[in-house]
Symmetry: C2
Subunit: 439 residues, 2 copies
């Protein structure tokens, strides 16, 4: 269970945020049961050793970055799942991948909606720790909306069971909801009780390209003002070209933006809603727009959108943003980001879960060019400042981790930081749980 | 703003739980702004005076019961609302009634789903403080699912703004979710940012009667196993007769149970789902079952179900339960309640939000008969013990308040009570916020 081999530890230093400040852990432990996690935490508590929890290491904000002298607790071997079709719930250990959960429940005709773009490689425990989102959230909500209960190991090794397989439960404080999104700073999640839905109906898909950003954002607002799409995704011209370079699927390389919108309304209502969205795109000035009810064709465009981050990453290492704004400010955010990119002379590609105002500006930079790297980091901060100024958030779904914590006080204010600190101190008085993350 | 008139204070001693242990407040304050609430809390903090917050006084667990020497803070004059159709959100002050929020957003073509049976008389602030549920929750979730942000006044009078009009926000701890359902023990909610949905489509309604409880619960499981109804309500024979006594709508007085199930799927899919539910009821052994697409007729049966509590109350004062269980245990809960009623020789009527396993056993008793009152209280505790033993909750949607707090440790266990106490102490170190509620 305990690994101290330096070569193995080296592979666990960073998550996908590639935090340059990563340390080297004391050791890596990979427990398989809640009891083992409790034993580890009891030991860490007694010896005041910090513990950094880690799921599949796909975090984009540095929440699982190794720290000097800390123990890394990897949940990857905690892989049990039980599906209950009658209560429509699943009880899962945290190390299962999101895709594995989806597949296991699909075998019983059920659906676990949250779908980060990384769903094939990210863990369900990490999803809960960061309150991960995804593409379907515009209609179906985020991870917290599907967590009914959990088992969590606290800083001193105590095991607490929160909530359970009950669709309504108003008994006591909403502790389950507090632990979702706490990024390992309050406890380590060792089991989740997830709410499931009946299998998603077939979707109709609309794909539309726009020659300007304002026409694309106008279409987004027209769509969300008329109905609730089951997906409403955006990528800009840089992302379109990066994806086209890799996938050769005939995307319009001259477009400033591309929307992929879907409806999963039952029966022919999916087509009806898709036609409304098609019409909204055309009225907003789309250069090309079409609807497809073919599942494979629709999925191909969704896959293209999900592939945008890796595709843009081929142009160079990324600083990956996750800023969100109230929907009417989306246009201001996108044009403001373009102005920052111009001013700092860096390439910024914007992809977005457009329907909920959550964008991922991707700042490409050459780490061997110190000047460009400095400008990229300036742009990284300025984009978060811009989002805060527009009434938005520095992170819609990736979490604060270590990379964004300097901006958290600017977003939430001193009163909320004080509240956060008081709760952290009450639950982790020695500060051994994921130190340096969030706070 | 400050009322000390004993006659007025007498009217504010209890909420609808009629807690006999209610005290007499020092004074009643009825602020209109957040600043006024902050001033009150600063004063209370300085002088260590307890504060009991109160919405419309419709709470069923005694969460707003006046305490000797405490200040009552009534939010009834905080009645502002702003609706934003583009972000599909509303910003509301806590004193508005749930029905007033529903009406204001409906004027903009929008829908605020949570619908406690008391929606015409309960406040939106109280709904958030208790994480209130209702009839549509089986498909649309509870209050917390619609609270995106809030302004809250803390124990020392500090004003904190949590969350905001963003559909995704992973920045920092999920404090908004922690305050929803905290029953006034962590802070006083002075403003809510609510997520709204497009107007609900017309519903098809199925009404079915059953001659036995097992056939009725079998129909419930068959329905929830096949689809997500927009409503799935139950009332037992006692409730049917009590409602029929008042409303004379031709309900079957010989039935052991009546289900009202609805679908709001788009277009003719509502009828399609309704037919599936009708079929499930008939296969389970319904003595009579029919579908109606007439909105007035459907609403009449929903109104009958909502009227069940006042109708049964005409038989005598009620001890009102709110126990919930995982759905497969619903049959065990209902038959177990009948056994308790027999053993304690008290009349217990069961009505339920059946689709999410949340039941309201109504224990009728004559307060002038000390022996019967004692037996009613025994049954009250035994029903909660039964729910806990079935993996359930002592409160699905009413909150713990003062009447149910003795059972909370049995449900959640010592670890969760300790966690709860640590958070309470961190946020309200002098214990002045709603003392005696929950903890």
């Amino acid at each position: 269970m305990v690994v101290t081999d330096p070569d193995v530890l080296a592979g666990y230093r960073q998550d996908r945020a590639s935090d340059p400040a990563a340390g080297v852990a004391l050791a890596l432990v990979r427990p398989t049961t809640t009891e083992q996690v409790a034993t580890v935490l009891q030991w860490a508590h007694r010896h005041r050793v910090p513990v950094v929890p880690r799921g599949a290491g796909t975090g984009l904000s540095g929440g699982a970055t190794a720290q000097h002298g800390a123990l890394l607790l990897g949940t990857e071997r905690m892989r049990e799942i039980t599906v209950d079709p009658v209560t429509r719930t699943a009880v899962v250990q945290p190390g299962l991948l999101n895709a594995e959960v989806k597949r296991a429940v699909a075998e019983r005709g059920l659906w676990y909606p949250p779908d980060p773009s990384s769903f094939e490689i990210c863990s369900i425990g990490g999803n809960a720790a960061t309150n991960a989102g995804g593409l379907c959230c515009v209609k179906y909500g985020v991870t917290t909306d599907y967590v009914l209960g959990m088992e969590v190991v606290l800083a001193d090794g105590t095991v607490a069971r929160l909530g359970g397989p009950r669709l309504k439960d108003a008994a006591g404080l909403s502790l389950t909801k507090l632990f979702v999104g706490s990024e390992g700073t309050l406890g380590i999640i060792t089991e989740l009780t997830l709410r499931l839905l009946p299998a998603q109906p077939p979707q109709s898909t609309v794909v539309a390209t726009f020659s300007t950003l304002p026409t694309a954002t106008a279409a987004i607002l027209a769509i969300t003002g008329a109905l609730r799409p089951s997906m409403l995704e955006f990528m800009d011209g840089v992302a379109i070209n990066a994806v086209e370079d890799e996938l050769r699927m005939g995307l319009d390389r001259d477009a400033a933006g591309l929307l992929v919108a879907r409806s999963d309304a039952p029966g022919e209502h999916a087509g009806y809603e898709a036609d409304l969205m098609l019409d909204a795109c055309e009225r907003a000035g789309a250069t090309e727009a079409f609807r497809t009810d073919d599942p494979d064709e629709g999925e191909a465009f969704c896959a293209a959108r999900r592939y945008a981050i890796p595709a843009v990453e081929r142009k160079g290492p990324l600083l990956l943003e996750d800023v969100g704004v109230p929907l009417p400010r989306l246009g201001d955010l996108v044009t403001g980001i373009a102005a920052i990119a111009d001013r700092r002379r860096v390439l910024v590609s914007v992809i977005a879960h457009a329907g909920d105002g959550n964008t991922h500006p991707l700042i490409v930079h050459d780490p061997n060019d110190p000047d460009e790297t400095a400008r990229a980091h300036q742009a990284f901060g300025e984009i978060m400042d811009l989002a805060i100024g527009l009434g938005g958030t520095i992170t819609g779904e990736h979490g604060v981790g270590r990379l964004k914590k300097a901006w958290l006080p600017d977003q939430v204010g001193p009163e909320v930081m004080d509240l956060t600190r008081r709760i952290k101190d009450a639950l982790d008085p020695n500060g051994i749980l994921n130190p340096g993350a969030v706070l």
